[in-house]
């Protein structure tokens, strides 16, 4: 147990703070996001992530938002387990036809007002997979999309920028 505490103490806080930033871009992004959320959303927005057919690349980078470097929760953004608790749907992948109804139902289950963010090239325009007998292509072919975040996959910083774009609408 002592070793554990020692490791925690010697690691310190690696989160790239906005008071003493290691990364200026993350700092300015974070401040802007926090300001918006505090003003318009009473301090927090809840995100439900839906993989509608992605290769899992985008999920890896969305996961990274929760690591101690980005720690997106400090800006008031948190991921929830049910669409019924969500303000925002973060949708990845070309929408596979086998996931089409599931995505529609998730969308319906999300209370209004709600926003949809299409994450990654496949979600934005169909990407490497496009439209086929098995794929509906872009998310906007299935549900209305408010903001798109390109990249294959988008980096955590690009994801933060995209979310800020949503808040500034």
């Amino acid at each position: 147990m002592l070793r554990l505490f020692k490791k925690i103490l010697t690691t310190g806080i690696v989160t790239e703070k906005y008071t003493a930033p290691k990364d200026a871009e993350l700092e300015s992004l974070g401040i802007a996001i926090k300001r918006r959320i505090d003003k318009q959303f009473s301090g927090s927005i809840a995100i439900r992530q839906v993989d509608a057919g992605s290769c899992n690349g985008c999920e890896l980078e969305i996961h990274a938002l929760n690591n101690p470097f980005y720690d997106i929760e400090r800006f008031g953004i948190h991921f929830v387990a049910s669409p019924r608790h969500a303000d925002v749907l973060l949708v990845t992948g070309p929408v596979s036809r086998h996931m089409q109804t599931a995505l529609l139902r998730t969308y319906e289950a999300t209370p209004n007002p709600k926003w949809v963010v299409a994450v990654g090239d496949c979600a934005v325009c169909g990407g490497e997979f496009g439209q086929s007998y098995a794929s509906c292509g872009a998310v906007s072919n299935v549900i209305p999309v408010d903001v798109t975040i390109s990249g294959c996959p988008p980096t955590p910083l690009a994801l933060m920028k995209g979310l800020l774009g949503l808040l500034e609408r």
Binding site: S54, N67, Q100, F129, Y133
Partner: protein, 534 residues
Amino acid sequence: MNWTSTFLTQQVNWLDAEISKPIGEYIGVTRHSPLHSVAVWQIEDKHWQQFAVTAKADNVRWVAGWAEHADRQFIVNAKFEKNGVYVVLRTVINVVKPELPTQATVYPAANRSERHSQDMFGIKFIGHPDNRRWTRHQAWDKHQYPLRKDFPAHGEPAEITPPDMHYDFIKGHGAGVYEIPVGPVHAGIIEPGHFRFLAVGELILNLEERLGYVHKGIEKIAEGRTPEGLARLAGRISGDTTVSHCWAACMAMEQAAEVTVPRRALFIRGILAERERIANHLGDMGAICNDVAFTFAQMQFTRLRELWLRTNATVFGHRLLMDVIIPAGVSRDVSEASCALLQQDIVWLRKELTSIMTAIDLNSSLEDRLYTAGYLSPEIAAAFGTVGYVGRASGQDFDVRRDATYPPYDQVNFKVALEDQGDIASRFWIRHKEIMASLKLIEQFIKLLPEGDITTEWLTPAIDNEGLGIVDGFRGEIISYVRFAADNKIARFYPRDPSILNWPALEKLVLNNIVPDFPVCNKSLNGSYSGNDL
């Protein structure tokens, strides 16, 4: 002498009950195999199952199965392995009455693969123990077969594809047995799939997986692509295995085109693959701890993973290393400065892991959750032909890098981690051992990195040329089959992700565990949904 020559001399009496003949007399062995590295054994369709029986008795492992539509016939392939020597078994059946005796009664691993061929080609496997649809949900009709050449890639989809109701799940009977349906949309940030539990109280009586939700038609849209296009697509079969899938596909195409990849490029590929393995193992180890609410480890491992990915971005221009491997080489060279950076990473990660693993090792609450949970016996692991860390944590001593070695792994020394404890703790610790081995590998690759070009000229392969890529991804053995059409275009592409062999093992290892332990059981196996569904 490898097993294949003794196998061919085995006495069998498939044809006539009275006369016993060596198996070799029933098989057309392609001496000059178009697949350079692997023998192709041509066999009559009626012997398909009998061959499997003989192979099984000889402890040969079933590796992969795929079919192909060519004019008025289907070419059906099954791939086997023993002691690192592979054989492709091939038969040809008529399109009009496409039937073949099943191998799934002999090899449970062949079960879902045959159901995939059934859904995609309309091949009927006679005697199959479970011929429910697998890859097909409701996106195409029962009498349509997407991988037949006359099926257009755009298909005839409905405006809204209906949900896949009425799949015939196994039912439980008796007082107190209840069903828990989970998915396709899960609670976390993970891929979609459906799990149907039968439970009594908290205890899992049975688990049935229903996958196929992220079927994107990869095999179909691969057809007609250029080698560059196929490499990009292969890099997106499973995002976490982008390097290894891309490598396997390129290896197959390079074989078909008879292109010799520069040595420097091969060593860089090795560095990429091992860095990918380490990044994923770090992520998995954190996630396993997180699933038993041990946040300390989750935070530590995600921290290490993030720093590791940042070096990827600095040295190779992409955090997940996508599209660095290209046909006939690699797209990024590593400078002296980059090598120094990669070496620093090794020293740093070793130091970090030493302190984290000692802290974790002494933690009794973590031990309490991970030891004995999710036990996969070596017998079941062998029966399903499980590979990678799942197999190696249950005594399956196989690693493509060592047993069917390919450059640059033939130039270096390394130890393959092996455990026989078979529980989640074992699948956790074996990842740690594999990270340590990979660090040593990267060290050697950097030291031995040859001078020279990183790419060479691409040669257009002759029509019908085939290739078979076999590499070891972080989940284990990846198989990639490629056949070329005219004009440098792909005629057939089949990638077999290791998840295809490992997923069925999950149904077994969760038995008699409690439902709340399912997430950690699942994470310890970490199958790819996308790689499975294609």
